[in-house]
Amino acid sequence: MRKTIFVLVTVLFMIASFGLANAARDYINIVGSSTVYPFATVVAEQFGKSTSYKTPKIESTGSGGGFKLFCAGVGVEHPDITNASRAIKKSEFDTCVANGVKEIVEVKIGYDGIVLANSKETAPLKLTRKDIFLALAKDVPDPSDAEKLVPNPYKTWQDVNPALPAKSIEVLGPPPTSGTRDAFVELAMEEGAKAFAWIKALKDKKKFAAIAHTIREDGAYVEAGENDNLIVQKLEANPDAVGIFGFSFLDQNMDKLQGSFVDGVQPTFDAIADGEYPVSRPLFFYVKKAHAEVIPGIKEYLQEFTSEKAWGPDGYLTEKGMIPMPDAERTKYRTDVEKLQNLMLQ
């Protein structure tokens, strides 16, 4: 009895899958970064409501997961667009090409600042990237003999830098799977490590990365999960803690939180847009050119995304906390999109 049912169900699947696999998709399928997700969804919704096309479906899979799905092949069962909070890697591009996804259009959409914030009840921290590195790295240069590494001995911010308050280091940040963590490590920690000449002079790239990219595990850095709202709530409850998250969450909670100064600049909309604030990263999405003709609405979606009313300085994306690109860059990427310029990786 079970066998017959099993056979029946299998046959049903076969029929169903053949029927469905051949059916065309009439909506855009987007995957990728959870950082770009809040911006892409706004554009998708606007696009769905103001045109006759269906609203695109957007999955938040993380940048790496997005590229994996995106590069799996060409065809309606694969995504059309992937969002990314970093540029595509050579290895990912090679996977794409190997699977037949040869023509990809890269679109940079704007910037996102990564902030270190704490509760308004205390004074804002004035950090340098060197302080950040010293406070958060697993191994730091020995304070007495600078050419040697020791396990991070610093317990309070004052230990790191006498100008900082004598409060214990307690940082809530994203886990290693997060793109925010990748960017934070690259932009803040790595630059901080370079403040030490001998680390900067290291020939061995792997050794450098091991020093600059490894975050301490003795409890001073708490991995708070992917949910940035959770970090915001914990910061409210604990004024001594510092949180690491994207600028849009600071933007929404300005009455409760303040961004720490990094290298003398506080993370404000203008400071990030001008490029003064050092810890900011570009956001991208990638389009499969082979799908642009097949799936209805892709070109119109690109048009909506690259229009001034969306990504311009006064556009609706800036209201959600995205930092727009300078005029010249916007023009460049808009023309790239119009021509569907292929991405070339050397």
Binding site: R2, Y27, T55, E77, N229, N253, M254, K320
Partner: protein, 433 residues
Amino acid sequence: MNNSETGSSKPDKKTRRSLDIVNQGLARRYRAERRFRYYGLSAIVASLLFLSLLFISIFANGYSAFMQTFVRLNVFFDPEVLQQESLASANYQGLVKSSLRKMFSDVKGRGDTRKLYGLVSSGASFRLRDMVLQKPDVIGKTLEIWVPADDDVDMLFKGHFDRNAAEGERRLNDKQLAWIDQLSADGRIEKKFNQTFFTAGDSREPELAGIRGAVVGSFLTLLITLLLSFPIGVAAAVYLEEFAPKNRWTDLIEVNINNLAAVPSIVFGLLGLAVFLNFFGLPRSAPLVGGLVLTLMTLPTIIIAGRSALTSVPPSIREAALGVGASKMQMVAHHVLPLAMPGMLTGTIIGMARALGETAPLLMIGMVAFIVDIPGGFTDPSTALPVQIFLWADSPERAFVEKTSAAIMVLLAFLIVMNAAAVILRKRFERRW
């Protein structure tokens, strides 16, 4: 007896002593008994306390989401803007803006006007469009229309924003507060029942977001789950309990079924990704696939509940049926199954309630996604209620906090209804032997 009659003091003492021992221990035993009862009672009280804490915090956070702040605008449906041939794509935003400009004619400058337009939700223009498309005869008239306010205004009215904070630290500036106060004084701002929450799909604007898409998605998913898991589960239970020989193979199957019931649900999601998506090529994010995965997850529960319901049917029923000449199939179909059905249904409902609250397996098959359109079929992209809660909990806008709690309340309501149905079914149809 005999001993006491002889008058010897020793045995007399002995009887008294055993009674003493009992009496002595009695108070202690009563105390132990009371303590034991108190342990049980305090366990119940503690769990009720936690439950009420959960309910109260969710309710306190979420009840305000059922009300929504609306702004009353005098909209002139300008025939010049609304040309007959392009009604669907006309500039409705412009109509909203011009009515706001008329109300606050002293507002000048690009920055200020932008702030002024920001008081009204971007959903206002879509509401106007729907009105015009439904009844084109409004063109040329001026109508008073309630449109949703922006989520920042909504949060201000619900007291989630501190209007006394310094200007740079709140999302509304002093001018905006002054305009809002003026609107409020004119009776143009009001809190009303939030219909959108129940009729709209997901949105990135909190004031336009609703749970209909997620509820429909959950319904479609559970429908597939029910249609597949109930017949398969019942058939498997009946075969294993009534027909299968008891040997090593059936033991092995039983161990495996019990094992499957304890497997973490994410594993079923991975299985679904590998089998249904990658091998059979079914579409991602579809209720069909979600239902299939949840079927795998609920099957063991239904089979185990079904088997225990079948074992509780007394053997005398079977023997009587066979005794009057029924075939084995007739015995099962006419007598055993109807008697076991209430227990099986209870197990099914509890399994379905678990499936309704499940997120992890749906993550792997792409149902954790931003989907605005309400799904119309089993292969349309859709999400489910718990997934919607997860997505909203992760949104930066503060107004989503109350939406999250409100969605949890809706999910809890469904769960309570389902579990209550299971209890009622059991009470009404259960037979004790």
